[in-house]
């Protein structure tokens, strides 16, 4: 027992526990986020006697007499100061790391009035952020220091909320002050805790499950196994191949396969009970990688499948082989890219309970509440489910699949009790699908002027233990492997193999991060062979409006690759002239699902009793700022002002299904649906006031219509729009470290330029990790071995100067010309960095993370 002070109030912790558990579970100070509970992430940072400290580290018994501060305990002036500074700088995205970052800033500014940028970087360097790349957080702290000294908080610099205005995001207050709720921040009355007992072996037959000892433990509410599932056991994003609970006789596919769900009154009993569930197995040989998977006598990952091929894609236009044969210059190379962990700051969590209307209500953190609804309904065999998105602490593709949502729904459905199901960070690292590792062979042929004649490639990937989005990722890897260039002889074949490794699925870039590394690296080498600069070879081949991409699509007037090249030119020329090692790469990325799949955006604008328009779209804001985008859409396309509009988080019973937050699609697809609803609302406002429109619903929907892959038409429209980018890396010759990154992105119309920059900076830093350091090693038991803090994510004191340049190019006739930016920010980074290192030391590097750089991991 110990007595100490929290936010100035004397409190007594009876039980010795981590400060984090005490602050959250007993005091419900939920600004203190639980990102890993192992000291790695920094999301639970508090201030103890003036010094920052992670709340998960100290035990309460050791805190006698200490003074602890959380953001709830900041003075009103400080709350205003940090809310303003973080909003004005655009420093808030998913928000999960932000309360910790705010306290780092406070601890610094309490000691130093006028901190240098270096001091700010060091003050936050132990706290990870995966969204922002730290750039704008550093700016926010600089601004806070300035305003603190001045003693006055000004008005936001932009306030008109129209498209193109860098207004403060609408979720800044709740994220800076920590009162916004992620699922883990809910504490329902009489809430139970649920967790899955998972397979001990990556591949084994489950022979028996004995739950009797666990059930007998006092405080255990239920132990649920496959036979208790009322509906369909298997879930899965596209293919239903993932057991919700492995039945007796079933085959396990990876170490994350759940076998029994334990439900208990508290978290300690839960952990004890999980150990009492006895599962007997017949361990079987596992498949460790694609090389093993494709052997004819390889063990099969799925009983139901004839082999381990999850997906095969073949894309061919023109005559690639013939064109390469006739080319003056030909280069062939093999490339490899690694597994990557999303490392979003918020681990997966779902809370479920019976709502007042007799539905199982699931509070989720996911990339589509409607996808969660669909899967939960199948699992329960019941329509009585409602899903509501909470704040989502980052996704990047890693929260598209079922991890905890369906388990929470099942527990509430069977026990009648409210439940929280949360993954520990170690479970999170194992369970959600990762970025696919790829093995790629590419051949490129060019004429004497560097004009691409043809490209031929063969790639394969490890898609792990279940399909997830392995097929579409492979497809996108193949369709974008040509690069954003104007040539017509292109052929690629790709195969994704099941293995007993953790699953791979969606990850920012969706397969294109991998093939872009190959094609852009080859293009850099080709430029050298021909004797022109990497910039010149791209400028000569760049796709221009009206030209035909290798996939056959004729691109529209909005196509802005050339503009990105022209915008980067002064920086490129200056770096070259200064004799600095510099690398360059381009990319394109679809906005919208494309390839003939039904891609609907839907939005309802409902005028409610408060005489305000409430925006309901079944589309998740996963940190990118969708709510702000939609409000800016409404302000631009109606006579209404910001104060007339309320953004509602996605749910499944009012908000219409607007698809997953995936494929850089929400700004364009849901944005256009919203704009269409605005047309109807504006017409109604011509004759009536908002008060008179109470209860009226204005509905907009938009189908992003595209042609199927390989459609038999002369110029298939694979995607409604593409974003284009050129990125550049400059190295410091002496240290060998990155001096600066310049990233120029064509976004059609930047809805909120500041948010756009934030996406770019975050994407660039994420892919600096991918290029230079991040790994996700898996051992011989198919187990990922590293903790969160060891993944190699970049930290605030390590990032170079990052110059984000947004190019607006009109021409797209939907969504006011806005093209999604989410993924492309991460795509050309790695090949640009690889080329810069080649310029430094003359070594061509063909696998990631790049070897022989100062960033290489030690130990």
């Amino acid at each position: 027992m110990a007595t100490f002070y929290v936010n100035g109030r004397s409190v007594t912790a009876e039980k010795n526990q981590s400060l984090l558990r005490f602050l959250r579970d007993e005091l419900h100070l939920t600004s203190v986020k639980d990102g890993c509970s192992e000291g790695g992430c920094g999301a639970c940072t508090v201030i103890i006697d003036g010094e920052t400290c992670r709340a998960c580290v100290p035990k309460t018994d050791n805190l006698e007499g200490r003074h602890i501060l959380t953001v709830e305990g900041l003075s009103d002036w400080e709350k205003k100061l940090y809310t303003y500074a973080y909003g004005e700088a655009g420093a808030v995205q998913c928000g999960f790391c932000i309360p910790g970052m705010v306290l780092c800033a406070k601890a610094l500014l309490d000691k130093v009035d006028d901190p240098t940028e270096e001091q700010i970087r060091y003050a936050i360097r132990n706290n990870y952020c995966r969204c922002t790349g730290y750039v704008k957080i550093i700016k926010a702290i600089e601004l806070a220091a300035k305003l603190k000294k001045a003693g006055v908080i000004p008005e936001p610099s932009e306030t008109d909320w129209k498209l193109g205005s860098s207004v403060h995001r609408l979720d800044v207050d709740e994220k800076v002050l920590g009162y916004g709720k992620y699922p883990d921040d809910w504490y329902m009355p009489h809430m139970t805790y649920g967790s899955a007992v998972r397979s001990q072996y990556p591949r084994a037959r489950v022979l028996g499950i004995d739950t009797s000892k666990a059930k007998a433990l006092p405080g255990v509410v239920a132990v649920i196994t496959a036979e208790n599932i009322p509906g369909e056991n298997k879930v899965g994003h596209i293919k239903h191949d993932q057991y919700s609970l492995i039945p007796v006789g079933g085959l396990t596919h990876w170490l994350g396969d759940p076998i029994a769900l334990v439900v208990a009154e508290d978290q300690e009993i839960l952990e004890k009970a999980k150990k009492l569930v006895k599962v007997t197995y017949e361990p079987l040989p596992a498949v460790h990688g694609p090389e093993e998977a494709r052997q004819p006598d390889a063990p099969r990952v799925f009983d139901e499948e004839a082999d381990n091929v999850q997906a095969y894609k073949h894309v061919s236009r023109g005559d690639a082989t013939g064109a390469i044969d006739k080319s003056k210059y030909v280069i062939s190379k093999h490339f490899e890219t690694p597994w990557t962990e999303h490392a979003f700051l918020e681990p997966e969590c779902a809370v479920a309970y019976w709502d007042e209307d007799g539905y199982v209500r699931v509070l989720s953190t996911d990339q589509s509440s409607h996808t969660t609804l669909h899967e939960c309904k199948l699992l329960l065999g019941s329509e009585k489910v409602r899903v509501q998105n909470q704040l989502v602490g980052g996704g990047f593709g890693g929260k598209e699949d079922m991890t905890v949502q369906h388990h929470a729904a099942l527990i509430t459905y069977l026990t009648g009790r409210a439940v929280k199901v949360k993954l520990s960070r170690a479970e999170s690292l194992l369970i959600h699908p990762k970025r696919h590792p790829f093995w790629m062979d590419f051949t490129i042929g060019c004429d004497e002027n560097g004009i691409i004649q043809g490209v031929k490639a063969s790639v394969y990937s490890d898609t792990g233990a279940f399909a997830s989005l392995g097929g579409p990722v492979l497809e996108r890897a193949c369709t974008h492997a040509s690069g954003p260039y104007n040539y017509q002889n292109f052929e690629i074949e790709g195969t994704a193999y099941y293995t007993n490794n953790p699953p791979a699925g969606a990850f920012r870039g969706f397969g294109v991060t991998q093939t872009c590394f190959a094609i852009e690296s080859l293009l850099n080498e080709m430029a050298e062979k021909i004797g022109i600069s990497p910039w010149e070879i791209r400028y000569r081949n760049a796709i221009r409006p009206g030209q035909e991409l290798p996939n056959g699509q004729i691109v529209g007037a909005e196509t802005g690759l050339v503009e990105t090249l022209e915008a980067i030119r002064p920086y490129y020329d200056a770096a070259v002239a200064a004799g600095k090692p510099v690398g360059l790469a381009c990319a394109m990325k679809n906005s919208g699902v494309g390839v003939g799949l039904p891609d609907w955006g839907r939005c309802k604008l409902i005028v409610e009793e408060d005489a305000k328009v409430h925006i309901y779209a079944g589309a998740s804001c996963i940190g990118q700022g969708l709510g702000t985008v939609l409000v800016q859409m409404v302000v631009t396309n109606t006579p209404l002002g910001r104060d007339d509009i309320v953004y509602e988080r996605s749910n499944t019973w009012i908000a219409p299904d607007s698809g997953d937050s995936s494929g850089s699609r929400q700004t364009l697809v849901t944005g256009e649906a919203c704009r269409r609803a605005c047309e109807k609302l504006t017409e109604a406002l011509n004759t009536r006031t908002l008060k008179e429109l109470n209860g009226e619903v204005f509905y907009g929907e938009y189908l992003a219509k595209t042609d199927k892959l390989g459609a038999d038409v002369p110029h298939p429209v694979s995607h409604v729009a593409y974003g284009y980018a050129t990125q550049m890396c400059v190295l410091d010759k002496v240290t060998g470290k990155i001096e600066s990154m310049v990233a120029v992105h064509d976004v059609g119309k930047a809805v909120n330029p500041l948010s756009c920059e934030g996406q770019i900076e975050g994407g660039v830093v994420m892919s600096m990790g991918y290029a230079l350091r991040e790994q996700y090693p898996i051992d011989e038991n198919c187990k990922p071995i590293d903790k969160f803090g060891k993944l190699g994510l970049f930290r605030a004191h390590e990032i170079p100067e990052i110059k984000a340049i947004v190019v607006d190019k009109p021409g797209l006739d939907v969504a006011c010309g806005a093209i999604g930016i989410g993924e492309i920010t991460s795509i050309p980074t790695a090949p640009a960095i690889a080329e810069a290192y080649y310029q430094l030391d003359g070594k061509r590097r063909t696998s990631l993370p790049l070897a022989d750089t100062p960033y290489e991991r030690r130990g």
Partner: protein, 157 residues
Amino acid sequence: MEKRFPHQVALVACNDGCRNISCSYGCIGCGMCVSICPFDAISFNPNGAAEVDETKCQGCSACVIECPRGIIHLHEAGSPMVVKCSNKDPGKLARAACTVSCIGCGICEKACPSGAAKVVDNLSAIDEGLCLSCGMCAVKCPRHAIYDLRGVLTPRS
């Protein structure tokens, strides 16, 4: 003198828990570092071990060079988690030599979330380039050989 940030400061890797027991590695209280320090930054702590005042230390390395036991090294001032022990004997001997010695048990290595804490030659060592300053090692160390120099997670000395 103005300090550049980040900067390095000296650390005496011993907290002198041996008192009257003999340790062949630890601080012997000779006072060489105390007398040589040009910034008056080193004094004896209540345990009798030399201790550096990081606010005064300029990282000049004079003490590092002069310490007859070679147990003073520079570390980054921004990384407050430090191992205050230099005993490289196997666990049993190290345990017998001192009440707050590192016995190389490896608990810090297991607790460390970032791979910064490693036991090398029976002695815990923290790679400050990897360290996240969380202090998990300091609170878990059964020998109290790892300190939080800010005095938040452990006593200062």
